[in-house]
Chain length 250, copies 2
DNA sequence: CGCCAGGTTGATTTCGCTCAAGCAATGTGG
DNA sequence: CCACATTGCTTGAGCGAAATCAACCTGGCG
């Protein structure tokens, strides 16, 4: 599962070489697990397995059995579903503070997608038995996961709707807007700067398009002055132009 | 919400003119609610609102606020998401024994899709407050809903994957196979007979296609001897032919 | 330096949408 | 019971968006 020791961490990311403690996790505020009081949190803390992964590594593989969930302390992760023909689609991005793998755990199936790190990541594994135990002991935790999955389900259905009715150019505009939240900043001149953790290939897989088609959509948006695209950088000078792309397209 | 008194029930469907009792509900075995013991079930029973709806009626509307969930005692229901351009997509079918509306309830949003009856339906409404109360009292019920939503989320993502990579003809083959479960029988000669509760329009909306495109796909399958299509009837003589359509297309 | 993966661009084809017409089934009022 | 409207389904012609196939860049990296 972990493909050897992690190698490519920058100095600042190397801060946490030792086993971290859940209670001091920088993402504790956002995670589902904040529902737990200090004593239940200690159960996680003592049973978790901490790992650091370089970019492009698998956290788990599609079709393999589920032994627990993973909690992201740092980095970005993509959930990718593939078929026998080499088609692959990224169903969602997972960011620091989020938990992954719970869908398969709750459904009692194998993983239906693989999770792969896009950036260097710090991840904790929490064994299935501990999760089950905590769920029975804390109705609040169940409630959080119900809420979380309800959100995911909404996202998934919305995404399906969009791939059916919107063209690639518009879906790309939606993606840029969505990435603004986690990966966007504003520079001195008021431009929106987004630094996606994704390659072109992966961006394409995320909106359900071929890389060539995405390339053309990017060019089209650029020619129309909606955004400027660098290797892993998107600049939006006027948000209104981007919103016009989306128009009334939900 | 309920558009007047129900009118078009056949004699057998009319069996339950009076308020039914949860404990004797024919679908009690399948529902999430079977997690509840008799005493908690009584809470639902005393607070529920029973309704009969003719076909084509709305159980709830997209964008309207959520006051509880609905439990289907009889009939088939479609969850439809629409946008301002008149595009609409059916995200899933709900059958007797299933609960609907919980996604919006758990997410704390308005309904993101409307629910409309495809056949005459018997539905019970369960108020939000009762659901919340039961969830905190019964970890088992939470667990069932976690399981249920995990399944739905898997379905939604699979469906998204298929609309991206499979052509309409193949998606239709998948739909036929899926409808076999609830709506299929086998006749004396061993043919599979499926009686979908859907119009052509709705079948199209379910696989994410225009009615015209579906019509052509149907003709293609028929010309190739995969299935015979009547108004609301599908005959499959040799299941292998249908499976060949799907081939290794997940 | 040459190699290689990732990205772009161009030419072509395919699939499904749009628009428009025709047709079949059902319902309605005279 | 029939003329007629209505609605849903099918078919055809044309078009547009995106996939496919192929060539060519580009930037790291050994």
């Amino acid at each position: 599962m972990s493909d050897g020791p992690p190698t490519d961490f920058s100095p600042e990311q190397r801060l946490c070489d030792e086993e971290p403690v859940c209670a001091t996790c920088p993402t504790y505020q956002q995670a589902e697990w904040q529902a737990l009081g200090p004593e239940l949190l200690r159960k996680i803390n003592s049973s978790k397995v901490y790992m650091q992964l370089g970019p492009g590594k698998a956290v788990f593989h599609q079709n393999s059995p589920v032994n627990g969930v993973h909690c992201v302390r740092q980095g970005s992760i993509a959930m990718r579903r593939s078929d026998a023909h080499g088609n692959s689609r990224i169903s969602r991005l997972i960011e620091a503070g989020q938990t992954l793998g719970y869908r398969a755990l709750f459904a009692g199936t194998v993983y239906e997608a693989s999770a792969e790190t896009l950036t260097p990541c710090q991840v904790c594994f929490i064994p299935k038995a501990v999760v089950s135990e905590l769920l029975t002991e804390s109705p609040e935790l169940s409630s959080r996961f119900l809420q979380r999955m309800a959100g995911d389900l909404g996202d998934a259905e919305l995404s399906g709707f969009r791939t059916t009715f919107l063209r690639i150019r518009t879906r790309l505009a939606h993606l840029i807007l969505a990435m603004r939240g986690r990966h966007g900043t504003v520079d001195d001149e008021g431009n929106i700067i987004i630094e996606p953790p994704l390659s072109r290939q992966d961006m394409a897989a995320l909106i359900g398009a071929r890389a060539e088609s995405l390339s053309r959509a990017i060019r089209a948006l650029q020619d129309d002055g909606v955004a400027k695209f660098g290797r892993r950088r998107i600049e939006v000078h006027d948000l209104d132009n981007l919103l016009d792309e989306i128009d009334d397209h939900i």
